[in-house]
Structures are given as C-alpha cells and as structure tokens.
Amino acid sequence: MMKNSRLANIGFQLAALVLALLFTTLILVATGAPPLEAYKNIILGSVSSLDKISNVLVTWVPLLLASAGLLITFSAGLWNIGMEGQITLGAIGTTWALRLMQDSSLPPALVIVLSILAGMVMGALWASLAGALKTFGGVNEIFGGLGLNFVATALTLWLIFGPWKRPGVGSMSGTEPFPEALWLPMFPDSRLSPWALVLAVVAIVIVYFMLQGTYFGLRLKAVGKNFRAAYMLGIPTWQYMMISFMLCGALAGAAGAVQVTAVYHRLIPSISSGYGYLGLLVAMLVNYQAAWAAPVALFFAALNIGSIQLPIILKLDSSLSGVLQGMLVLFVLMVEGVRQRLMRRS
C-alpha cells in the first residue's frame, strides 16, 4: 500500500515533468523555433565544457542558499517573498563591511569572513522587518516582503550612484571593484569559489537536520501547519515566526555576500539576480523537503546557464529557461492537486 502510493507519487511527478516539457515545446513550435535543437542547446550549454559546468555551480551556490532559507520560512507557513530584498541587503552589508575594512591592516581572510557575516546580519535584519510587519502590524508577509524588495532595489541604486559611486561618475556597472586580495579564493580561470560551494552545502545540510531532527524544526512545522493549535500546545508562536524569518534572512544575506565576494567583487544594481524568486520555485517544487533542494536547485541552475547561448545560436530569448521552470512548478502543483482530489474520491 505504502509502496504503491510512493510509486504513484513518482508517476505523478514524472507526468508533471512531461507536461511542462510538452507545454514549453508548444511555445517553441508556436514561435517557429526548432524544439529539439533548443533543448539540445540548453543541455550542451550547461554541461559541454568544464567552464560551463563551473558556471552552473556558480549559479547553484546562491540559489541553494536561497532555497535553504526558504525551506525554513515555508516550514513556518510563511511566504517570504521578501527574499530578493534580503539577498540585496546581504550584498550591501558585505560591500559596506569590505569598504570599511579594505584599507585596514586586518588580514584579508578575516576581512572576508567578517564581511560575509555582516551580509548575513543585514539579511536577517531586513527579514526581521517583514517579520515585525507581519507579527506586530498585521501586514501579510507577501505584501510586506514585496514592498521591502522595492526599497532594497532603490537603496542599491542610491548607494551606487550616490555615496559609493565610482571616482568621477556613477555607473550602472556598479561600485569600484575590490582588490583581488579581498576576493574569495577561486578555482583557477573561473568565478567558482570552493569556499562558496562549502558554504552552500553546509547550509542545506544544517537546514535538513534542523527540520528533520530538532525540537526547533518540529515546533516550527507545528506553527506552520496549525498556528492556533501550536499556541495551545505551548509553543511561543510569534517568536518562532520571527526566528524563522531571521534565519531565512541570514541565508539570503549569505547568498548576497557570495555574489559580492566571489562573483562580482563589487555591488551591482541587480545583485540578487532573481535567485530569491527562483528559490521560491525550487522550494515549492521539492514540496518543502530539504533533501531534494540540492538536486533541483542544480537542475534549475543548469537550465539558467544552458539557455544563455540560445540568443546567439537560435535567436531565441534566454528567458526560455524561466518558461520551463515556471511551467514545471505550475504543473507539479496542478498534478498534486489532481492527485489529492483522486485520493479523496477513492
């Protein structure tokens, strides 16, 4: 019985994948593009060379950090749409700390570690704003988070064109790059840092164990599944919601910090690169199960990188990967709804 339903589950998930592919193919056909050629290019574009694989991993790191954080807020029943802003504030916090310490006599390794911590703190604080709006102001975290995202974007632009502008004139290309000594150490000829990889993997492992095996994780789930009953069981509910916001914000901040210290080495206008929203898709797609977050995030990262060369080769927009990712989430949710309806009937 259990085994059957698990098999059926996998069947349903596969059906969703097939439907998503089918739908994306339809769009490709409708625009007159050769679908098979497009898929082939996406695959080749993500795995055909060491350089491309390393680019996939560069994308994977912030996406996995974001997904790990979102698993915590989803467990508490919260839709942390403010993720983008929290990543941005993490990047701002890290840039700020680097600027403060770049001319000091502190060892570079220490400066980098402190700057990443500063980014995590900033992310957590920004997330706590959305949390405070929710718990004390009665503002739904979706609206609060969305509003704070816009504020974060504005703040970045103001910093880049104002106080932190390049000598001479501010530019959309961002702030003045930091000296190489303040970069996270990289693999040769790539933007991939082993330290960033370690950070992301450690984060998802910690989140996995936290949600699976700790009192904190179980209580958080109780809060998310039934707020009132959790309160009756003696769980301090609003405190748990605040903590989950701050933990998620800290991981978002870490993603922003990695973007600054390992990828761009400066603050750029769209530093969050949509990883917050993409992380939401990953968390939904894995049905809030931490164990699946790493492979699914890797798959999404590969789609993103693979579609980069579509405009050059097929004159297709690279947003095709976004179409496929969105379709996947929609169909997985839809198939899940169908499955539940069928189960209720039987």
């Binding site: 095996g213 700790t214 009192y215 179980l218 209580r219 003696g234 769980i235």
Partner: protein, 493 residues
C-alpha cells in the same frame, strides 16, 4: 402565503437530520420551531430556503408544489431567510448591500433603490440611513436591514433563525412588533429559536424537533412545562454519581466581567476547588464559551480578577496559565487542538518539554506506544491526527495533557463520540480529579452535565446562574433555565 412541508427527509451520512417532517403553516401565522442544538431545525429551514435540497418530500406554497434549487430560487418564490449571522457586506454602503441581492441590469438605478428603501423603512418604523456603512450598524440594525431587503425582494415568507440572539431588549420589542405587523398583512413568519420565552411571547403555534423528528406541536397559549418536556424529554438514566470531596481552592474568579461582540457577562464570582467538576450548561452562544476561555487566559476580562491558587493571573496570556498547570481542550480539535499533518508521535514530542536540541526518535516512539496503549487510541505512532476518528482525536488530545495539572477546561468533551468513548474519557478525567485537578466543562448534553458535575452553572444570554448542586437538579429544571425560564429577576446580574 400558506406553507406546507410534506414528509421531508434529509440525511447527512449516517445522521438522519430530518426524519419525515410534515408541517402546515397557514398564511398570516407566526410559527415557532423549537429544539436543542442539532435537533434538525436549521436543516429544515435550509431545505425551505434553498441552501440544501431534501432527499425526499415536497414543499407546497399556497397549495402548489414547488422545487427550490437555490436561495435565489427561494426568494423568487417569495421565501426569504434571515440568518443568525447577517449575510451582508460590512464595508459597503447600505444601499449597495440592497442592490447586490437584486436582479437588475448592468447599471442599477441607485435613486430608485434609495427611494424604495426609505419608503419601506418608514412603513415598518426603522430609522436607518441608506447612505451609511453597514459596519456602523448594531446587530439589531443589521437584522432590520436584512428584513427590509428580503421584503423589498418580494418575500412573503420570512424565516428567522435565532433572531433574538445578540440584540438589545428594545430592539427585540421592535422586531416582535414588526413580525406581528407582517403576519397581520398575511405574510408567514417562521421563527426558529431555543428561547421558550420568545416563542411564548410571539408565536401563534409551535412545533418541537428532536433528533431530526417532529416530536409535537402546540397552539397558543403554550404550556411551557410540556414544551420543555418535548425538547429535552429523554429517559433520565443517571447512574451512581461520584461526589468529590473538594480540596483547596484552585481557581477564584472575583467579579469577572467579559464582553464579546454578541454579549456581555457581568460580575461573576466563583471559587473552584481541587477535585471538583463544574459543568457549564446553556444553549450555544449563551456566554459559556467566553467564560471558559477567560478561565484560561484565552480571553481578557474587561473587569475583575482571575486567581489561580491565590496568584493573580488576570490579563496574563494562556502560556502563563499553562505554566501554572492549566490546560484548555478546545471543541474544534483539528482547528485548535491538534496539528493536521503531524503524527501522534510528533504530537507527544511537542507536548513534552524539549530535552536538548535533537529529538530522540526512539524515546518518542516509546512514548507514543505507551500513551496509545494507556489511552486506548485506535492508531499507530505514525498515524497523522487527521486520519483518526473523532473519538480517537479526543483521546489523543487528552493523552497530550502533562503532569501535574491543577485545572482542566474542556469544551464539549464528548460531543459526537460513541458511548464507549464517552465513558472512557470521563474515567480518565475523573482520574485527574482524584489527583487534585479541578475540571470545568461545557456541554450541551444535559444528562452529561448532571451526571459528571458536582456543581452546574447555567448560562442564558450572558446571564450566569448561581452554582446549582447537580445532585439536587433535574433535567427539567436545567432545561427550563437554559430556555430562559425561572430566572429570578435579581439573579440577572
């Protein structure tokens, strides 16, 4: 309009909510429909007003059989229902509320509607400004608004579901006058209530429903004793009662006053002792719910003090009460008591104090097996709570109580449970009393209240009786009090 119902049947799963109900109401009559909660009154009215369809049976208006598919259908036939909670749109203007229910073109003629409204309001002596917002109105005024709206839509049969709940006595006088006037115009009024005094004062004739069946009918003048007997007339089978020897004072209420949207409870004082069981009786919504919640810090009193073993906890949150050994078991188990999606084991772990950071799964499994056995829960450690039956959910809720306890507050401890579960759950609760806890519980089952309580508090429209000795009280007496009869004028504090 003459309304006839012929052998209406309605099943909800195993429950026979309406069992062969036949009812004739001549035009111009005010018909009372009496019965306990769950007697089938609402079901019957929903059938007549089109919210649900009967399994079998006929509805005739002025002798002509009709079929009602929806509330909109019903109003076309001239049947309008006034719900206990007004079905209006509070943030909108009154005139817009009016227009919403009406059939009409794309652009409603507001001026005409306002004129009609003013005319109708004047005719029935209501003073409501059509341009004000609904949220500014009292419950009584919203009721008036709804009556006007139904009349405007052409209702000739009005169904009123517990219309005197939550309105002031002057509004009640006005409402009754309006209903009499409407009846005199030849319209048919159906008045659903559990309040005997209201039915006596207003209705021309009344029927009593019990467990889905029509038990009896009576014309004005009514014999209230007979009506009470029909409403609650079960065979009384009280077993040997266990009398507690009360110990130290656990809970003291000192001049506590409560307020919620519907009613006010004023100046209640009560001392509850260790080992004592106090039953709170009354029709649903008479004030016992807020009262019980106030004893747990889940509702803040507007006046007075709540003391637990001599310590003043007034205004403290529920967790402070819980810390002092108070547990509240809600009636809506899956909404407030248990967490759907989590297993029994996870619930037991959650209810315990955390030991360190990581959960000891092995310990959790043993704990679950032990509790499942001792509370006789039909389920496994990995069963999710929503997969359990109602009785087993209640057992699970009880098994989550920790030691030591000083006060247990329970809403409907055995509602919807089979007799075996009822006996089992009460034996577990009585164990708690022997260990020195006090119990307060709400029940609409009068037998249960008298059987298991040492003292009984009766609630009626926010009034609270003096504690009655359960051994000296009969089901009839209790029924009278619940129906609002036999309350001394002075006792209405």
């Amino acid at each position: 309009m003459k309304v006839e119902l012929h052998s209406i049947h309605k099943h909800f799963g195993k429950v026979h909510a309406n069992d062969d109900i036949t009812l004739n109401i001549p035009a111009g009559t005010i018909q009372g429909i009496l019965g306990e909660n769950g007697a089938g009154k609402s079901t019957l009215m929903k059938v007549l007003s089109g919210f649900i369809q009967a399994d079998s049976g006929d509805i005739l208006l002025d002798g002509k059989p009709i079929i009602i598919h929806s509330p909109a259908d019903a109003i076309k036939h001239g049947i309008g229902m006034l719900h206990q909670d007004p079905l209006d749109f509070p943030p909108m203007r009154i005139v817009d509320n009016f227009i919403l229910g009406a059939e009409g073109g794309l652009f409603p003629n507001r001026a005409v509607v306002v004129r009609d409204f003013k005319l109708l309001a004047e005719q029935y002596g209501f003073s409501i400004d059509p341009d004000s917002y609904v949220d500014a109105l009292t419950v009584g005024e919203r009721q008036q608004l709804e009556i006007l709206r139904l009349l405007w839509l052409g209702a000739r049969v009005l169904i009123l579901d517990e219309p005197t709940t939550g309105i002031s006595s002057s509004q009640k006088v006005k409402l009754f006058a309006t209903l009499r006037k409407l009846a005199a115009e030849g319209k048919t009024m159906i008045f659903v209530s559990h309040k005997l005094e209201d039915v006596e004062a207003l209705c021309h004739q009344a029927v009593v429903l019990r467990q889905g069946k029509l038990i009896g009918e009576m014309q004005k003048p009514f014999d209230p004793k007979k009506l009470v007997a029909m409403m609650f007339g079960k065979e009384i089978s009280l077993g040997a009662r266990q009398v507690a020897k009360p110990g130290e004072a656990i809970l003291s209420l000192q001049h506590v006053s409560l307020e919620d949207v519907r009613l006010k409870i004023k100046d209640v004082s009560l001392e509850v002792h260790a080992g004592e069981v106090i039953g709170l009786a009354g029709m649903e919504g008479s004030g016992q719910g807020p009262f019980l919640r106030a004893c747990a810090g889940l509702m803040r009193p507007v006046g007075g003090h709540v003391l637990l073993k001599g310590q003043d906890l007034t205004g403290k949150p529920y967790h402070a009460y819980k810390h002092h050994g108070v547990e509240f078991l809600p009636a809506s188990r899956l909404e407030e008591g248990l967490v759907p999606g989590l297993t029994l084991t996870e619930h037991f772990i959650l209810a315990e104090e955390p030991k360190g950071m990581f959960i000891d799964r092995e310990y959790g499994r043993k704990l679950a097996e032990e509790r499942i056995k001792s509370f006789n829960i039909k389920g496994t450690p990995v069963s999710t709570v929503e997969s359990l039956s109602g009785g087993n959910q209640q057992r699970a809720l009880l098994s989550l109580l920790n030691d030591p306890l000083s006060l247990v507050l329970i809403e409907h401890p055995t509602r919807g449970l089979d007799i075996e579960s009822v006996i089992y759950i009460w034996s577990k609760l009585k164990d708690r009393c022997r260990q020195g806890a006090a119990i307060l519980f709400i029940s609409s089952d009068l037998e249960e209240v008298l059987q298991y309580s040492d003292r009984v508090l009766v609630f009626f429209s926010g009034k609270v009786s003096e504690p009655l000795d359960a051994a000296q009280t009969s089901v009839e007496q209790l029924g009278q009090l619940i129906g609002g009869r036999g309350w001394p004028e002075k006792q209405a504090v």
